[in-house]
């Protein structure tokens, strides 16, 4: 499933970043620590529904847009 399909408070692990033709975003996600194997939790969506806020590791809060979250494949934990 995709990261965007998670519900609030659900935890998951990244299994794949779909890099094809989104190379720039993929690099940015990598730099920010969103790589295969990382566990994350969907914290909330912004008041207007986008972007999403996820927590990775223990404390790091990241915000990313739906279109960026769509290239992240996860499995629910």
């Amino acid at each position: 499933m995709l990261l965007t399909e998670l519900d609030k408070k659900e935890k998951a692990r990244i299994i794949k970043i779909n890099r094809q033709d989104r190379a720039e975003i993929a690099v940015r996600l990598t730099d920010m620590g969103l790589v295969k194997g990382v566990q994350l939790e969907l914290i909330r969506r912004a008041p207007l529904g986008d972007p999403l806020e996820v927590k990775t590791g223990n404390f790091l809060l990241l915000s990313l847009r739906r279109e960026e979250a769509e290239i992240i494949e996860v499995e629910k934990l």
Partner: protein, 622 residues
């Protein structure tokens, strides 16, 4: 004579955005550079030096980067500095609460073979979170020394300096073969994965987190502040509160300064014999510069509000909350941070646009920043609102003026992106840093710096323009036997120039006096106040009124200021081109005369149009 042991050590500070490099730099070198709790505060590398143990140690604060891939300007600056300048020590500042992500940059610095020392910053927060780090083992695995620091409390600085000297003297040897992977790997995805695998291995062995992480204060605050329902109302409330405070709290000290100025001008005109010199002092300098100085308290309060937002970590939240809206108009949530900074001053706001990677986004954001009313425009708003609106409405009026600016800015961005600067907007992967309490000392020092700058401006450019405006409004003198009705100012050079441009601004309800003030305001916005001060002081002198009065009372008795005209003037001042200094910075940042011409023409054109519409519509009601 240079002693042989007087050697220089060059230290580069590298680290992730918001890891506290600048805080550490300030603490070590004793500077007061701007810091903030959001990624991307430092946009230019800065140098500072100190003497320690017989050495001159020069520190270079580099902009924060998440990696060294040649992907953004900051990353290139940092990489080139390490490769080309070959600093003696690369001080890698690591946010201890985010070890895994921060060590990603660390592995890349290791790949360059630099002499690295790690400052594990925010160590107080690490302890609070109950995290245990086995420093010895982690040092062994990374091949370099690690010093825990708390930059804001100046903890661990001595140890850092000691280590820097030891590394320089080769008393500490950096092991450079610790990477368990091939850094020459061609596939960037594979390389990234092996870096993280190396980091995870090291962290797993040396760092112990609490089993169940505690719910942090940040979690609690965010649950309310960026809540789906309350997020936007709270954002609006915060902005409203800042402007209310600016007006309400600023009013008291402003009143004192105003009375002091009235007293001073009465005193001077009492002691000095009547003549041009007394007029220069009273009508030119005291009325001009004094009027500007009386707004200092309000300006400091506004800056305090903005600094507070920047220091606590709310800025990134504001970007998060409005990103969808910004996305709709074709911009980036991050564009919102320079826009809010623009409430203080356009100069840092233009520079902050460098954090926007996409050139189309960047130039669009720069073009709409003039619509974010800056601190220098504040005195003019305060003067007009104070003179023409009842006190209970004043804070709300001010808030309304600023919100109107944001609306025009957003609408402009939409049109600019749609017709002039097309292009995809950049990705929005952004860190939301934990909330942090600002250090009071830092806020006070920033206020003090702002106050000095403001007074310096009042004493130099505003003084100069006031004297020039006094000259232009006083000469040539009206002949005593001049036939017909004519005031001194109308007869003067400035008066004639004002009459000349009057047709352009007549449709907005402005007369030649306002015209002079607006033109002089291109130099600096406070000058609008000082010029009005001089014009009305001279006018008053003309009527031979004995009592000196505050400018507020002088303008409110001039019939040209009808309510529609006042509203149109507020809108015009809000939107038209910022001061010369800001324009110069815009030109430097945009790098082309075409853009600078567009910026000037666009802001003035929009100001005229919006003022015209406001004046016409409000004429229907009042």
């Amino acid at each position: 004579m240079k002693k042989p042991e007087n050697k220089e050590i060059l230290v580069a500070l590298a680290g992730n955005p918001n890891s506290g490099k600048t805080s550490l730099f300030n603490s070590i070198v004793g500077t007061h550079l701007k810091v903030g709790n959001y990624p991307g505060v430092t946009i230019e590398k800065t140098e500072g030096a100190l003497k320690y143990g017989g050495y001159k140690i020069t520190f270079v604060d580099l902009p924060g980067t998440y990696s060294l891939s040649p992907y953004s300007p900051e990353e290139v600056i940092t990489r080139n500095f390490i490769v080309e300048e070959k600093p003696d020590v690369v001080l890698n500042v690591v946010d201890g609460t985010n070890l895994e992500r921060n060590l990603y940059l660390t592995t890349q610095i290791m790949e360059l073979g630099a002499n690295m020392l790690i400052a594990l910053n925010m160590y107080d927060e690490v302890l609070q979170q109950g995290t245990k780090i086995d420093f010895k083992q982690l040092q062994k695995m990374l091949g370099c020394h690690i010093v825990p620091t708390i930059a804001t409390r100046k903890d661990g600085l001595d140890k850092l300096l000691e280590h820097i000297v030891k590394i320089y003297e080769r008393k500490i040897v950096i092991a450079k073969n610790k990477l368990g992977y091939d850094p020459q790997e061609k596939d960037p995805a594979v390389l990234a994965e092996s870096r993280y695998a190396f980091i995870n291995g090291a962290v797993k062995e040396t760092v112990e987190y609490l089993d169940k992480p505690l719910k942090t204060l940040t979690d609690w605050i965010d649950a309310i502040f960026i809540n789906r329902l309350l997020g936007i109302p709270i954002f609006l409330f915060i902005m409203w509160a800042i402007f209310q405070l600016t007006f309400k709290l600023g009013e008291y000290p402003m009143g004192w300064v105003e009375s002091a100025i009235v007293f001073l001008s009465e005193f001077v005109s009492g002691v000095l014999p009547e003549g041009w010199f007394s007029s220069l002092l009273v009508d030119g300098i005291i009325a001009g510069v004094g009027g500007v100085i009386s707004f200092l308290p309000s300006i400091l309060l506004l800056f305090l509000g903005i600094s507070f937002l920047e220091a606590t970590g709310y800025m990134a939240r504001a970007a998060f909350v409005v990103d969808k809206l910004m996305h709709k108009i074709g911009l980036h949530g991050k564009s919102f941070i320079p826009m809010l900074t623009g409430f203080g001053c356009s100069v840092p706001a233009f520079m902050a646009c460098r954090t926007l990677k996409n050139p189309a986004d960047r130039i669009t954001t720069m073009l709409i920043i003039p619509f974010m009313s800056c601190g220098a425009k504040l005195p003019v708003h305060l003067l007009l609102i104070g003179a023409f609106f009842p006190e209970r409405l004043s804070g709300n009026m001010l808030f309304g003026v600023y919100m109107f600016g944001i609306l025009v800015a957003l609408l402009s961005a939409f049109l600019l992106k749609k017709f002039l600067f097309k292009g995809e907007s950049e990705p929005f992967v952004m860190e939301l840093p934990p909330y942090r309490a600002p250090t009071i000392g830092y806020l006070l020092i920033q206020m003090w710096i702002k106050a000095q700058l403001y007074l310096k401006k009042a004493g130099t450019i505003i003084l100069l323009v006031s004297i020039i405006m006094w000259g232009l409004t006083s000469f040539p003198s009206l002949p005593e036997d001049y036939p017909g009705e004519m005031s001194q100012i109308e007869y003067s050079l400035a008066g004639r120039a004002g009459k000349f441009i009057e047709p352009v601004i007549k449709p907005l309800g402005f007369d030649w006096k306002i015209g002079i003030a607006l033109v002089s305001g291109v130099a600096a916005k406070e000058v609008v106040v000082s010029t009005l001060g001089t014009i009305y002081a001279l006018d008053d002198a003309d009527i031979e009124d004995e009592e000196a009065t505050a400018l507020k009372d002088r303008i409110s008795s001039d019939p040209v200021f009808t309510l529609p005209t006042v509203l149109a003037l507020l809108v015009f001042i809000l939107l038209y081109v910022p001061c010369l200094a800001a324009t110069a910075v815009f030109h430097k940042e945009a790098g082309s005369w075409r853009y600078t011409a567009l910026y000037f023409g666009y802001s003035c054109g929009v100001a005229w149009l919006a003022a015209f519409v406001v004046q016409r519509i409000s004429s229907l009601f009042f």
